[in-house]
Amino acid sequence: METSPKIQREVIECCKAGDEKAFAEIVLHYQKRVFNIAYRMLGNMEEAKDLAQEVFLTVFESVKDLREEFKFGAWLTQITLNHCRNRWKYLKRRQYFNSDSFEESMEGEDGDMPSSVAHPSDNPEALYEKKMIQQFIQKGLLKLKEDQRELIVLRDLQGFSYEEIGRLFRLPEGTIKSKLHRARMDLKEILERSAH
């Protein structure tokens, strides 16, 4: 299930007509989802912000071509994923993920696998541990194959249903489930390897 409820059809219609207020409403409604997908896919806040803005600008330019307004959410996610793929390729070509700036942006440290994140509290130590786990996970995600990362981000981090993911990837649900399981097992191996 999508994290954001669907936006009203009228707003999309107004946006199609070039209404900037309607567009701003759409941005406010979907910015968190788009930004989070971008961040999880790229692992960098600045890149994610830039990419998310690009995504919305693309949306504003091409929303007039969208025929089925009820598919706006899926269409937006598809645009986001396409932008992420392009940006990933671009950054990879520039050796961004091997550079110091990337290491600094992650601010993480390898070490023993964090024991738990199940009991976050106001305790600073617990908060710190939670932050470390987030970075640990993020590093592991970036080591996955791109399609595996997309599946985990959409399903486990963004809460998309198998049906929605199946539609996005144009694959049967069963295939998505198998692929997702394979992705999770690979992530487990990656994290175990980096913990030791």
Binding site: P114, I152, D156, L157, R184, K188
Partner: protein, 331 residues
């Protein structure tokens, strides 16, 4: 059940998507296999971490920054639109001038090719031959004149060059005279009318221009009956120089000189006076006509000297010259 197959069911087991029978088999295996049990625990922990990961907050000013970007793009868009079609406008504005330039280029090309046609060259050569150039120089003059024709347009630009070149020619005159002597020998004593060529094309063209009118006039001939040829010859040499003339050839009993038209009559009178001085009243019939006061002659000489100086100016300002052949006959 094998461990691998059990591990493949972890996601379905944790998401409760296995049917009861399958779930029972997997759980039985997990109880009997501590390794698979540990793997399941790790798997569950990572899944839990993923599900518990807090969404990242969108940076402040995300929307305003994006709207600014959008405004920037809007401002750029009309520019780019203009730029997109700008080349077309430019092409249109350049279309006519390009056509005109192309036409001019074609005309020049046709003229160039026509002038380069071998059929045209004899006619040009014929014109040159009218000036009777020496055979040895004929071939050199041909391309000179052809190039003159071809470069007709460029001549104004080359005038300064030509003047420089003429100055150089002035310096090189002794060399020219030597060459002329040789030509004379080749032509059997006929006065050379086309002048020897210079190394530079432009120089050649200008020299040819200058010398053709000179050569086209038949030489004046003065026959003097004298007793002392050597003395008269030297006096004649001096006179020629005095009147701003040039000795073309000098032989034992003949002298070929070119003189400015304006000073020629004075020169002629002085030559007559010279012979009368040498011979007395008897010999030169024109003596009486040449008699004048010494004061008058002094004034005339000064004038002539001035004219002679003027004649030393660049060739472009020179007046027409007369070629005179003075033959000395022994009395």
């Amino acid at each position: 059940m094998e461990c691998e197959k059990v591990r493949d069911q972890f996601s379905f087991l944790l998401e409760k998507e296995l049917d009861p029978l399958e779930e029972k088999i997997v759980r039985e295996h997990l109880v009997s296999c501590p390794e698979c049990q540990r793997d399941l625990e790790q798997f569950d922990k990572i899944l839990h971490w993923l599900h518990c990961a807090d969404p990242v907050e969108v940076p402040d000013g995300f929307l305003s920054e994006m709207l600014e970007k959008m405004e920037g793009q809007k401002r750029k868009a009309p520019m780019s639109e203009r730029e997109k079609w700008g080349w077309f406008d430019k092409a249109l504005s350049l279309k006519l001038p390009i056509q005109a330039v192309a036409m001019v280029a074609v005309v020049f090309l046709v003229l160039y090719i026509t002038k380069m046609m071998p059929i045209q060259i004899p006619s040009i050569t014929k014109n040159v031959e009218q000036a009777k150039p020496p055979r040895s120089e004929a071939k050199k003059i041909e391309p000179e004149i052809v190039s003159k024709e071809m470069k007709k347009e460029k001549v104004p630009e080359q005038i300064p060059l030509a003047v420089d070149r003429l100055k150089q020619i002035e310096k090189d005159k002794p060399i020219i005279l030597e060459e002329e002597k040789e030509e004379k020998k080749l032509d059997g004593g006929v006065v050379s009318k086309a002048q020897p060529s210079e190394p530079g094309i432009v120089g050649k063209v200008v020299v040819a221009r200058e010398r053709v009118p000179l050569a086209s006039k038949p030489p004046q001939e003065i026959i003097l009956k004298v007793s002392d040829q050597g003395k008269i010859l030297s006096q004649l040499n001096e006179l020629v120089k005095q009147f701003g003339g040039e000795i073309i050839t000098s032989e034992k009993n003949a002298l070929l000189a070119s003189l400015p038209v304006s000073t020629f009559s004075e020169f002629e009178k002085d030559v007559a006076r010279l012979t009368s001085f040498e011979k007395g009243d008897k010999i030169f019939p024109r003596k009486s006509a040449l008699e004048s006061s010494s004061a008058e002659q002094g004034v005339k000489r000064r004038e002539i000297e001035e004219k002679g100086k003027e004649s030393a100016r660049p060739v472009t300002k020179r007046e027409d010259r007369i070629v005179v052949r003075i033959v000395l006959l022994e009395e």
